[in-house]
């Protein structure tokens, strides 16, 4: 192996051997039979047999003679005496080390050469843990170096008055002058945050940050520890390039919708990034305890994601869980408890107002009012709440506050042979729903979760490492049988004036033809209880192949995940009545309106999924002088059997299969010029054998300008300046709906109910159920993304200020869409026309990160701003050609909102007569629309692109943190911009869209057109009811309101106790107390409901505001 020799020669220093011989008995006898062996080999043999450590400089062996000895069962000292006899060296046994020195030279030479001495030392971190693997080198004498052993100890022979450089990746290096007398030194290394990032997570591994040319971003664990159940909720705004929208809050809410660099494909395709946990794709990132996260990384560009082949186009999120750290056991416990409340909750009008407004909607349209004044007055005065009710549903349904708790205990430690990280977490959240005492069940809204993580690393041998990780959680979600968000929906559907919450005689009310009473639904409908059990396991074997060639490793990973969901539903519908009036005795006259089914039903649904993932890879990393090369060749395949509720057919139940061959090569010259190329050859079962495999590739290049010689003069100001660029392709392979697979096959299906026909006289009929084309086959293949990424990295002020800017541009082609341009007279329709690779989109934008970190004697200050702006575009959507260019969806943003342009309200009848005809009833005070095609009729031909849409184009975040002595304060602001929402849908928004007894109204409706004061600016136009169809509630610029917001998402004040004597008594090394708050305030022009909830009706459990008190303890 000539390469290996060459390398050895160029080796800068010689490692001290700290092999796996710990615990071997010392002072054992030596047996040696050597003939003309090199002195070095002879000493090595003694070392090996004795188990002693060896302290030796190769240069000291200059001029040594070959050794020929025959030693039988001698002591170490005797053996060494024989070996070193006549050699130019002497030796000394110190403890369990053999220290070899050059024999003292002639006295006159002694004065010229500084005298050497042996230094014993120990290196610890700030918490007092011993650090292994720390490099101790002598300044100016790079060959003199060693590393610490598992106990953090080292021995090094150094010249007198030398300066030691103590360094370890992830820690700040220290320079220690050794005074002539120092024989024993103790060093404490401080963690260096920037240092930690020197290695970055990339697809299927890590890379040195310096040589990375791809686009990625990471977030620290501490920032993920927000009091929410879902990790996705915690990261919105933290990372440049992630667009996250949290559409609802409270117990059991799903996580945020995440988009890497916004949405870049049509809604029929998956728009979300690929999620990877511990190297295994498609693992959900929610429900992971943030405490267990080692790193959270997003990959954004083609170079970073091409290795994920058909899955990488929407970006990749990688989470690695924490691994064990060698050292004595370190136990950390954290507990926090908080109170939660809604951020926003719209208010409804009261019953009398509702009735008056309904009358107004009738009268203003020439129709009879529905309620007389004295009836309305009865509702107002509450003279008989059974017959003349007046209910504010939100007030009746919700408590002021709910609670939220989190606790975690973890322990990490280990020795050279094995390291462990074990963690146990608990999360609990309750909701603000009121409950009633019901003996047989508790329908409280709450969520509990237990998490566990256990990661073990075993060094089977010096070159073989086995990592076994297992993690999972068990969650239990409890809600009323009617469902969490359903309660909000019902409150917006239930009029305030039709029934009380419950009649005074104890019966439950219902008006026929309207919806269920929300209070009854919440407290009486039974329960739904969902257990989700998830266990994930990884077994990874890493084998160093440096005996073949240095830097080569082979790696195998097998992962197996199971999920089991157990959904128990026990529901009932208590009989409901309506009070028609009172009899002569004053008792309520009740009619049964729904006999219901008062017994609790029993329904148990179980869903289970199974994933198997197999990966094997060859890794190669090596440096040859100024040349750094690395390579990766990887094979993986996955097999996922979906057994979730969404699986409705056999085709959806067939396991999903994927297979990839992945490669990567990187080359760096002199730490200045960086090159990288990736490819993935991916196969999927989605396509015909002809189209089954796709090749995706990328190239990237970088230039570390700051490492150039010409840069030296300004390097003190700008220590780091890098430019990087990448281009490549990646794919997106499936549709959102699991019931649309095997798109290359035509599928017939038997007709549903309602599409059958019967023959025969009543009593002896036969029903015929035919067949229809559920889907026509299409010749389909991948959707492919082509992406450019250009990045600049700049550091200033001793690396305290870091700036990263990236611009990107993406073209997406071959997006799977239906060929919707075929007329329906063909007998086909949008439900069964084939999918084809016909869609095209484009996306471009910019990510910025600016970060400042400053450590001071007594504290620190940090600030980080991130920003992402992206602008996407539908390039080709294959809709039929439009009659007018302004109707064309192509050229606009993906999912662009289309609607009418409002020109204000009609002021006069002449104006109506002279304007284009609007369908339905049109009067003064109604919204006047612009007749874009000038045909005198307002219809869908007059719609055009209006506004932005409810996914923001601009996302930004600002994190501020500081510490002084023991105090720490941090604040995280999240903001979005260039987003708007349409306030014109939903029962509580559109007045009386379902008549007088169905639907509630938000109080915003009171700001309405007033015939007395027709010129006043109002939110609502002339009122109407469902009986008069108007055009007022069309999607139009009238109802479009900006929904930008800036929110103090998170703020925390903490104190770290430093009274050592007190803490020592409790065996605590560190104690931190903190208070924090989530969603503390929001600034937004959108006033109707929480702007983060998005478009639509404002009908969901809102995001919550949380105030938390917590404590974190590190035990000794």
């Amino acid at each position: 192996m000539p390469g290996s020799n060459a390398l050895r020669k160029s080796c800068i220093f010689i490692f001290l051997s700290t092999g796996p011989m710990i615990g071997a008995a010392y002072g054992q006898t030596i047996t040696l039979n050597l003939k003309n062996a090199s002195l070095r080999n002879a000493i090595d043999a003694v070392k090996k047999q004795s188990g002693y450590d060896l302290v030796l400089f190769q240069s000291n062996l200059q001029g040594a003679h070959p050794v020929t000895v025959n030693i039988g069962a001698k002591s170490v000292a005797e053996a060494m005496d024989l070996i070193t006899k006549g050699q130019p060296i002497s030796y000394e046994l110190k403890g369990n080390s053999i220290v070899v020195r050059r024999k003292a030279a002639e006295p006159n030479e002694t004065k010229a050469i500084p005298q050497n001495k042996v230094i014993n030392g120990i290196v610890k971190d700030v918490k007092g843990n011993n650090l292994q693997g720390v490099t101790i080198a002598v300044e100016g004498q790079s060959k003199r170096a060693t590393t610490t052993d598992v106990n953090g100890r080292f021995i090094l022979e150094v010249p007198n008055n030398a300066t030691l450089i103590v360094s370890l990746v992830g820690f700040k290096s220290q320079e220690i002058p050794t005074a002539a007398t120092d024989k024993e030194i103790s060093v404490v290394l401080v963690e260096d945050q920037k240092g930690l990032e020197e290695v970055v997570v990339v697809g299927y591994g890590t890379q040195k940050k310096e040589s990375n040319v791809g686009s990625q971003a990471t977030v620290k664990r501490a920032e993920l520890k927000v009091p929410v159940a879902n990790l996705s909720t915690a990261i919105a705004g933290r990372l440049a390039g992630v667009v996250a929208t949290q559409r609802s809050g409270g117990p059991g809410s799903s996580g945020a919708n995440l988009f890497v660099r916004g949405v870049s494909t049509f809604a029929s395709s998956p728009q979300s990034p690929l999620l990877i946990v511990d190297g295994v794709p498609d693992r959900d990132i929610n429900n992971i305890d943030p405490e267990d996260v080692e790193s959270f990384t997003i990959l954004k560009d083609a170079t970073a994601t091409a290795v994920y082949g058909t899955r990488g186009a929407n970006g990749v999120i990688i989470i690695n869980t924490r691994k064990g750290k060698a050292g004595k056991p370190s136990v950390t416990a954290e507990i926090q408890h908080g109170i939660t409340g809604f951020t926003y909750l719209p208010k409804f009008v009261d019953g009398p107002t509702f009735m008056e407004l309904f009358n107004e909607g009738q009268v203003l349209r020439g129709k009879a009012p529905a309620y007389s004044a004295d009836i309305i007055e009865k509702h107002r005065t509450g003279v008989d709440p059974d017959l003349y009710p007046n209910v504010n549903w939100y007030d009746e349904l919700f408590k002021k506050n709910a609670a939220n708790s989190r606790a975690n205990v973890n322990i990490t430690g280990g020795a050279d042979v094995a390291q462990y990280y074990i963690s146990l977490g608990y999360y609990n959240e309750t909701g603000q729903f009121k409950t009633e005492d019901i003996e047989s069940y508790n329908a409280a809204l709450k969520y509990d979760r237990f998490n566990f993580t256990s990661n073990l690393g075993v060094n089977i041998s010096k070159r073989t490492k086995l990592d076994f990780g297992i993690n999972g959680f068990l969650s239990n979600y409890n809600e009323p049988a009617r469902g969490r968000d359903q309660i909000f929906a019902l409150a917006t559907q239930y009029s305030p004036h039709i029934t009380p919450i419950r009649y005074s005689n104890g019966l439950w009310p219902l008006v026929k033809g309207t919806t269920e009473n929300p209070y009854k639904a919440m407290t009486q409908s039974g329960i739904s209880n969902k257990y989700n059990n998830v266990v994930r396991s990884n077994l990874r074997l890493t084998q160093d192949l440096d005996f073949i060639t240095e830097g080569l490793k082979v790696n195998g990973l097998f992962a197996f995940d199971v999920t089991l969901d157990n959904n128990l539903k026990r529901s009932r519908n208590l009989p409901s009545y309506f009070a028609e009036g009172r009899d002569e005795n004053g008792a309520l006259k009740m009619t049964l309106t729904d006999a219901g089914s008062p017994d609790l039903s029993y329904e148990l649904l179980r869903f289970s999924t199974r994933r198997m993932y197999l990966e094997s890879s060859l890794n190669y990393t090596r440096s040859f002088g100024p040349h750094d090369v690395s390579g990766l060749l990887l094979f993986n395949q996955s097999d996922f059997a979906d057994g979730n509720e969404r699986v409705k057919s056999y085709q959806a139940a067939i396991p999903y299969r994927q297979r990839n061959v992945v490669g990567r090569a990187t080359y760096a010259y002199d730490r200045k010029y960086l090159f990288e190329s990736n490819f993935s050859y991916s196969g999927s079962d989605n396509f015909t054998p002809d189209n089954r495999y796709g090749l995706f590739a990328s190239i990237g290049a970088g230039w570390v300008v700051s490492n150039e010689r010409f840069f030296e003069p300004i390097k003190s100001i700008i220590p780091h300046f890098k430019l990087r660029y990448s281009y490549g392709s990646s794919g997106n392979a499936s549709l959102n709906d699991p019931n649309f697979r095997f798109l290359y096959l035509t599928k017939y299906q038997q007709e549903e109910d309602g599409y059958t026909y019967s023959f025969g006289v009543p009593g002896s009929q036969r029903t015929y159920r035919g067949y229809y084309e559920q889907l026509l086959k299409g010749d389909v293949t991948w959707e492919t993304s082509y992406r450019h990424n250009l990045g600049v990295e700049l550091n200033f002020f001793n690396n305290d200020l870091q700036f990263i800017a990236e611009i990107f541009k993406e073209d997406r082609r071959g997006i799977l869409m239906r060929g919707l341009d075929i007329p329906y007279i063909s007998g086909y329709n949008s439900g069964n026309v084939p999918f084809l690779n016909i869609g095209e989109t484009a996306n471009k934008g910019i990510d910025l990160t600016l970060e400042y970190n400053k450590k001071m004697t007594n504290g620190f200050f940090m600030a980080r701003g991130t920003m992402n702006y992206n602008s996407n575009k539908a390039v080709r959507d294959n809709l039929p050609p439009w009659a007018y260019p302004y109707l064309d969806r192509e050229g606009h943003r993906i999912s662009q909102r289309f609607g009418y342009i409002s020109e204000g309200l009609f002021k006069t009848d002449e104006q109506i007569a002279n304007s284009a005809t609007q369908p339905g009833d049109v009067r003064v005070g109604d919204i006047r629309y612009k007749d874009l095609n000038g045909d005198g009729i307002i219809n869908s031909m007059d719609q055009t692109a209006i506004g932005y849409g409810d996914v923001p184009l601009l996302t930004y975040g600002l994190t501020l943190g500081g510490g002084y002595k023991g105090f720490e304060l941090s604040m995280f602001f999240q903001g979005v911009g260039m987003v708007d929402m349409n306030y014109a849908s939903g029962y509580a928004v559109t007045p009386f869209s379902q008549g007088k007894t169905f639907g509630n109204m938000y109080e915003y409706v009171t700001d309405r057109w007033d015939p007395e004061n027709p010129d006043k600016e109002t939110l609502y136009p002339r009122l109407s009811t469902n009986e008069t169809v108007t055009t007022n509630y069309y999607t139009s610029t009238w109802w479009l309101k900006r929904a930008d917001f800036l929110r103090l998402k998170q703020a925390e004040l903490g104190y770290n106790f430093s009274n050592k004597t007190f803490l020592d008594k409790l065996s605590i090394s560190n104690l931190r107390l903190y208070v924090n708050g989530t969603n503390l305030f929001t600034i937004s022009p959108w006033k109707f409901w929480d702007p983060e909830m998005g478009d639509g009706r404002g009908v969901a459990y809102p995001n919550t505001r949380v105030f938390n008190l917590g404590m974190r303890i590190n035990f000794k």
Binding site: G581, L745, T746, T767, S826, Y828, P919, G920, T1028, V1029
Partner: protein
């Protein structure tokens, strides 16, 4: 030693990895659904083939699934359902219907048209069916039915859209993917449909009964052709100069502006031929005898819907969601509380004649200000006199204040009370009350009850013999005004309903009015009125007016049965004024966007 050890491990690892790759390589992606059907498999099996055939019928409308699924009564001058919130009904009645919100049943109809073609082209492949007893005959009949249905679905589309796009029969070959096809003219559409139906009839028996009830035979074909020819002769399609500019892009005129009297003649002969086949196969007007002539007429016109379908039903749909109709129209006084919502407008109530055949305007005994002293089997003592002494169908078809409960009564109740505080009035239910003070009563079985649920299983009659009689009388009155059959066939319908024969010597115009009135009453709520007022092109004229104000009794007043404050005509329903574009429904914008050859109805 170590060196070698590692090497072995490495080799073992590599081998196992490559084995894994190799081992599953061949079949890894081969899993695909093995349960997928295709045309070949469907038509290889008799049961599947017959299922395919049977559901070719499935887009035949269920005319009693009212008011939502089949909504023609609620969007014409028959009934109002505006107390309930249905967007489609409101769009029609507010005049807001447009190409953006119009229902698009033609999507399903064209789907069936395609499926009929697929069936015709593939049924011969079914060896199992061929080998069955009478297999060849069955195949011939099935094919003929498919052929009829294909034409019938075109006809359904034509009824609402006017001239439609007719696809070539060998669609796949002729069209490929290019479905840019213009409308055919009305007359071309009719010629095509009639020709197809005639061809189909040649391979059919006259009628099917018992377990085959509902299948198409010659009798049904001829009855449908009677409707088609009657429409085609009518003013909307025959010499309509208002629409002479309705043309395809190439200038083809879609509706003829030239009146052809012969079209009425054809309508008359087709109606007669349909009547002949029906009568030859035993069809007659259903009669159920009662204690007297009045009760006989009442029972005959009421019970025909469950007892008389085999006698009178020319074309029946064996399965119907008649419960939707019964529960929507029956008053709250029904046991279990029905929805009390399908409200007859006063204008329709007024069209029912007195028992002696006079109109309420002609009758001297008609009185809205007094209350009857003595109840009858049809209403209670104290009922307003305006509801007394009316023709028998009034009591069979209309529920009014004081009438007996149409189904099973709530305990303690004997009559329907629509006055404000009454058992089916406005007080006591926030929305389940009829705005006009009347509800529809036709086709509600006397045992009907919501809770406990009681419903008599029955069929829906799509075409009754009485309709054919009226078709014939109408067509004959237009083509041969003095033909004796006009009065004969009109009187068959009148006499069965307990009305005296029509006075002799009426002018053609007077006779036309009588026939049209007879259609309105006899065929009430059966989905005919909406089309009749359109084809007659009279939707803006008195007596046929479809827009504007409609009257009713004052639902917000009244505390007793005989309370005059209730029996007061008030504007109950206000609909948009009629516009001529409402004569046809527009194609949905989706279709206009896709088929660039398709011209929209003028005015949309």
């Amino acid at each position: 030693m170590k060196f070698r050890n590692n090497k072995i491990k490495f080799l073992a690892l590599l081998t196992s990895a490559s084995l894994l790759m190799q081992g599953c390589n061949d079949k890894f992606f081969d899993a695909q659904p093995d349960n997928l059907l295709n045309i070949e498999s469907i038509f290889s099996n008799r049961s599947q083939t017959e299922n395919y055939w049977g559901s070719l019928y499935a887009e035949i409308p269920d005319i009693w699934n009212q008011p939502y699924s089949y909504n023609y009564s609620a969007i014409s001058d028959e009934i109002d359902a505006s107390n309930w919130a249905d967007g489609t009904l409101n769009n029609f009645n507010s005049g807001a219907i447009s190409s953006d919100n119009v229902p698009t049943p033609y999507v399903k109809q064209y789907r069936k048209i395609r499926q009929c073609g697929i069936f015709i082209n593939n049924v011969d492949k079914c060896q199992e069916l061929k080998d069955a007893d009478n297999g060849e005959i069955l195949i011939k009949q099935y094919k003929a039915e498919a052929k009829f249905l294909r034409a019938y679905y075109y006809w359904l589309a034509m009824k609402s859209l006017g001239p439609v796009v007719i696809l070539p029969l060998n669609e796949e070959d002729a069209v490929g993917d290019n479905y840019q096809i213009p409308r055919s003219s009305w007359d071309e559409c009719v010629d095509f449909v009639i020709k197809q139906m005639d061809e189909a009839a040649a391979d059919m028996p006259d009628d099917h009964t018992d377990t085959q009830l509902g299948r198409i035979g010659k009798m049904v074909v001829e009855a449908v052709k009677s409707e088609i020819t009657l429409f085609t002769a009518s003013p909307l399609y025959n010499g309509n100069t208002d629409l002479s500019n309705w043309r395809n892009l190439d200038g083809k005129q879609l509706i003829s502006a030239t009146y052809e009297a012969s079209k009425w003649g054809k309508a008359a002969t087709t109606a007669k031929s349909a009547i002949d086949i029906a009568e030859r196969n035993g069809k007659a007007l259903f009669v159920k005898n009662g204690a007297d002539a009045f009760e006989t007429a009442f029972l005959s016109t009421r019970n025909v819907f469950w007892d008389g379908y085999q006698t009178e039903g020319v074309w029946v749909r064996p399965a119907t969601n008649r419960n939707q109709w019964e529960i929507s129209s029956a008053p709250r006084a029904i046991a279990g509380t029905a929805y009390n919502g399908l409200a007859l407008v006063q204008e329709f109530v007024d069209d029912f004649r007195m028992a002696n055949g006079q109109s309420i305007q002609q009758s001297s005994s008609y009185d809205e200000t007094t209350y009857v002293k003595q109840g009858t089997p049809y209403f209670d003592t104290g009922t307003n006199a305006m509801y007394s002494d009316r023709e028998p169908r009034f009591y069979a078809y209309v529920t009014f204040n004081g009438s007996k409960i149409p189904g099973a009564a709530k305990s303690g109740m004997t009559r329907v009370e629509f006055y404000s505080s009454g058992n089916s009035g406005k007080n006591g239910a926030p929305r389940d009350w009829p705005k006009t003070g009347y509800t529809a009563r036709k086709n509600i079985h006397p045992t009907f009850s919501v809770n406990p649920g009681v419903g008599v299983n029955r069929v829906a009659m799509l075409i009754r013999l009485s309709e054919l009689y009226l078709n014939y009388a109408e067509a004959l009155n237009e083509s041969q005004p003095n033909h004796p059959d006009i009065a004969i066939y009109l009187n068959k319908v009148r006499n069965r309903a307990g009305l005296p024969s029509i006075a002799s010597g009426l002018s053609q115009d007077r006779m036309r009015e009588e026939i049209r009135l007879e259609r309105r009453i006899e065929l009430a709520f059966e989905g005919k009125r909406y089309f009749d007022v359109r084809r007659w092109k009279v939707a803006d004229q008195d007596g046929y007016r479809q827009g504007g104000d409609f009257y009713g009794m004052d639902m917000s007043s009244g505390t007793s049965l005989s309370d005059p404050s209730f029996h007061k005509r008030v504007v109950a329903v206000r609909r948009a004024e009629w516009k001529d574009r409402f004569y046809f429904m527009p194609w949905g914008q989706m279709e206009i966007d896709r088929n660039k050859q398709l011209v929209q109805v003028p005015g949309y």
